[in-house]
Symmetry: D2
Subunit: 342 residues, 4 copies
Amino acid sequence: MTHNVAILGASGYTGAELVRLIATHPAMKIVGLSGNSKAGMAMADVFPHLRHLDLPRLTTIDEMSFDDVEIVFCGLPHATSQKIIATLPKSVKVVDMSADFRLRDPAAYEKWYGKPHSAIELQKEAVYGLTEFYREQIKTARLVAGTGCNAATGQYALRPLIAAGVIDLDHIIMDLKAAVSGAGRALKENLLHAELSEGAHAYAVGGTHRHLGEFDQEFSALAGRDVHIQFTPHLIPANRGILATTYVIGDPANIYHTLNATYAQEPFIEVLPMGQHPSIKHIRGSNFCHIGVVADRIPNRTIVIAALDNLTKGSSGQAIQNANLMLGLPETEGLMLAPVFP
Amino acid sequence: MTHNVAILGASGYTGAELVRLIATHPAMKIVGLSGNSKAGMAMADVFPHLRHLDLPRLTTIDEMSFDDVEIVFCGLPHATSQKIIATLPKSVKVVDMSADFRLRDPAAYEKWYGKPHSAIELQKEAVYGLTEFYREQIKTARLVAGTGCNAATGQYALRPLIAAGVIDLDHIIMDLKAAVSGAGRALKENLLHAELSEGAHAYAVGGTHRHLGEFDQEFSALAGRDVHIQFTPHLIPANRGILATTYVIGDPANIYHTLNATYAQEPFIEVLPMGQHPSIKHIRGSNFCHIGVVADRIPNRTIVIAALDNLTKGSSGQAIQNANLMLGLPETEGLMLAPVFP
Amino acid sequence: MTHNVAILGASGYTGAELVRLIATHPAMKIVGLSGNSKAGMAMADVFPHLRHLDLPRLTTIDEMSFDDVEIVFCGLPHATSQKIIATLPKSVKVVDMSADFRLRDPAAYEKWYGKPHSAIELQKEAVYGLTEFYREQIKTARLVAGTGCNAATGQYALRPLIAAGVIDLDHIIMDLKAAVSGAGRALKENLLHAELSEGAHAYAVGGTHRHLGEFDQEFSALAGRDVHIQFTPHLIPANRGILATTYVIGDPANIYHTLNATYAQEPFIEVLPMGQHPSIKHIRGSNFCHIGVVADRIPNRTIVIAALDNLTKGSSGQAIQNANLMLGLPETEGLMLAPVFP
Amino acid sequence: MTHNVAILGASGYTGAELVRLIATHPAMKIVGLSGNSKAGMAMADVFPHLRHLDLPRLTTIDEMSFDDVEIVFCGLPHATSQKIIATLPKSVKVVDMSADFRLRDPAAYEKWYGKPHSAIELQKEAVYGLTEFYREQIKTARLVAGTGCNAATGQYALRPLIAAGVIDLDHIIMDLKAAVSGAGRALKENLLHAELSEGAHAYAVGGTHRHLGEFDQEFSALAGRDVHIQFTPHLIPANRGILATTYVIGDPANIYHTLNATYAQEPFIEVLPMGQHPSIKHIRGSNFCHIGVVADRIPNRTIVIAALDNLTKGSSGQAIQNANLMLGLPETEGLMLAPVFP
């Protein structure tokens, strides 16, 4: 059986990635694509790499009919997303990829995103979309909030350790290296090839990155107390991939064992042998997350490194994984594509 | 029904690409992997991006049993390839990815590859592996000779034009831009990141590139007379992709019409609308080839540009496409993966 | 003696490159910097790599005084440039880096740039800035028109051959590979890192690139008849550099001899030994141009390849070289910086 | 007055960088170049970007005469370096760029480099080459030991803070991002463009990187007690540059003030305004080091980020800076080249 899906905000990178994944998904069919600024265009003109596919033309959201749509992927900017989702028929399931429904506390939303939430009722029913940890709720959810791509990477490294109480909660430092597609298709000077290639720099230094809202919420809930990590993302000259190097205080063997046990049955999370660590090159274009654990020379200090592709496991692949669950499909359906190397 | 396959020379980039493609191919199963210098290793250690797969360990070719193998992909270097293939059981089908069986004339082989061919009998039964033009012979072949990646790109642009007699055969210039994975995983100074990144240069300038042997053979056969093109490849700082810019003398509309008619029913060859032209970014990681035609300001001069991924459509994807035909499978089986963008 | 200079349009890449070169120029001092959209800012905020220098703050052009300025480098967009230069005091020498004064025929300007020239009188006195070929006129010029960066590269390869009559004028093809800084600091989707990295494609295909106006003008003047070359530029994933691969019909030895003799005494033009050819990696960040000549396997066909850095020899370095002549300084002053490798 | 210099190990990247810098140095002349594996070759054939220079041919070290040589730059591998330097005439000054004379304690050398030191007497007279902190000793030294490139970067960020006692010595974490030229011109699989481009990964994780020997020695000496930092380098897909993100516990304003006061008069060390932080793009090809300080959201936690070019300030530029002092030249002579951007 084929499920009809629509993608809102299909002219961005996460939209293109959804189409790429659905192109070989055996049980989904794209029946609607919106992209307001590019409404009327063929996808082949917006994304020539998709020209071999038989896709609907881009429309405005207003023009789109949801009558035959079972599930909507929403790749709109935050603030816009909550407004549009509030207008969708209740019969339609929604995987939102914006930040709008990630934070359960409206005050936290306002703090990190700078304005009050306008769809608080919807937020209450939203399920946080980190599949491996919210699997059961996602299966029955109508609205799933896709996680931040950095937030996903960091949580894969740290959630099991916080939950198990094997690390010092007051000294967690995450130094993250992010490829540029995470910034979207925005026309900004620092995203130009001439500015980024051969460059590397931190951004949102000092604890100002919005994905900290997710870390704070999730880690504090797990620990039963406030947990605030230090988090410094860096932009590196690559297109896809996030590498999160996490410095924790705790026994390396214990930490390794905890991660290994947590993810033993997970189809997409690979814990490498003790002492090995991942590269973004090895998960590129795939839905896999690689995690490595290394003991530092200083006793009781451990480095945990996680890598995933921000466009796949960090957003559109995660969205498909969640949609599979919401539609009663096998969780891995359409997502076992191997990484593209080199 | 699942067909058992083996890959010889699996520790190079074309080997990794074969494994990537077969990983989601519904009708092939890898039962043997050889890699002499890395025999004994797990593929996950040679190619960590493949660690999620359940693959046989690398062996030497000698250790490998071909009893249950239906088809062998041979990714060995030329000269080695002919020796090994000569020793394989006749019951096994072979897709060779080396240069050893591309040239039908032993003298031409010796001229371009510097030593006599040692398996001339085998060469006689080999079918040239440019699927779209040798489809029927490939279906019944036991031994298919995969084409050179540059040779494939150039032929997609030029074969229909030479066959149709719509261009001047004495003034064909192909200026080709090749990404670095085409050079394989060789440890050479000019392939280092520090040497290639931010660099670009020609190589094999002046008509010395071995793929000219294929152009000469195929174009002359099509034209019924000697055809020698000028061919200058360039190395550019990218990992995957070939862009062949071809300068021909002939009527643009006629040329466009000829290409369009030739490829109208081809699943992997996309002729862009007249005046548009391709980017290697738009076929990356896929088995598609994009072709564009543009009229020059000088009357009767036309630019034909073809783009494909050297590791997919240029070698391993082509190999799977040919294997599908040899096994009686649908030609596109396992190959409809969309390009990875960005 | 130190000469006071001002830079108009200093917030773009050519402006930054001028400042870089003047920073270690022993006889120039920057006394004015304009950048209308960034007026009021410190250069260190626009270009943090220049923060060690003691530079004037950016102003609008209106705010700038030219009383103490001996020479102005004008890095404004075409059309704007001619208007501004017309308002400068006649006592000020000008090196214009826009396209506004390159074409001597107003009709040609209108054809390639889409609107009539508004400062035709100025155009009459402008000297074309290809230093090696207009050296004497530049020494006494008040207004020098910097060449297009592609136009410079191509002319270094072809001018001597056309002047000497050693190639067929009706079959000249130039396939050019350009790094992205040549497109300036413009916020365009195709200049984003995510779109260009791992990509390569042609642009302005078919004889529509504006630098053809310069080729037509200069080559026709040299030949004493109309000369129209085919010219196809390509964008490659690098920041600096132009590689022009030129296909000509003519005797290789003759061609090599002609180039070698022409450039024997030139400080910045290096003709490589016969059969060798250049890489953009080897001239990066410098004012040098490398030229290689290779004979094709087809008799009487020759490939001439030229490489230079579009921001240095192709624009800002050329501008300094011309300014040196206009100010009576040694031509190479401040320009002998070695290329940056790797 | 011109000083004659020789470079041993000139065929590597640090050798090429020395030649680049000396090319425009007004008071140094290269009279000898050794490169054993490439002895007999012209530098233009080893490094075509240097072809405009009039340089001596590469020789073996045995063939080289030191009669007219005032100072030798030694770019040989560690272990080899100590042996060769021991054979040089005592009249020749030496700037060693290997690791051989960085560690004052022979036991530390053996621990980090795996074999005993063979020139312990020489080691006693060697001065550690971090110019800003060993300036007076360097002026009179005969043998200066250039620092590790990572070691230099980290020390610029941390030395003043440790010396001033403004940070917690037991919780210092340095997460470093290094471009690939720091690994030299070695033919290793992980340095290939196809493997590194679009990749990023840590290496020497867990406190095993040899530059920790320098950190331990220097920081412990400053603090008067053992100081062991956590140090995790990462390889990023860029050619030049090191970005060291340092996490310390201490008051941000205090830390900023300490760094600012320390470096106020330094010509090459730029402390950015509080809250700003550097990019490797902004120091590329130059001898500058940029340092930024940002307060974390967690009270008393501070992030200090330092950036420099590993080939310039991190090795060859530092070597020239030291040589200037040893020869009685102005310290900045030949080193004020502005960074190359973009």
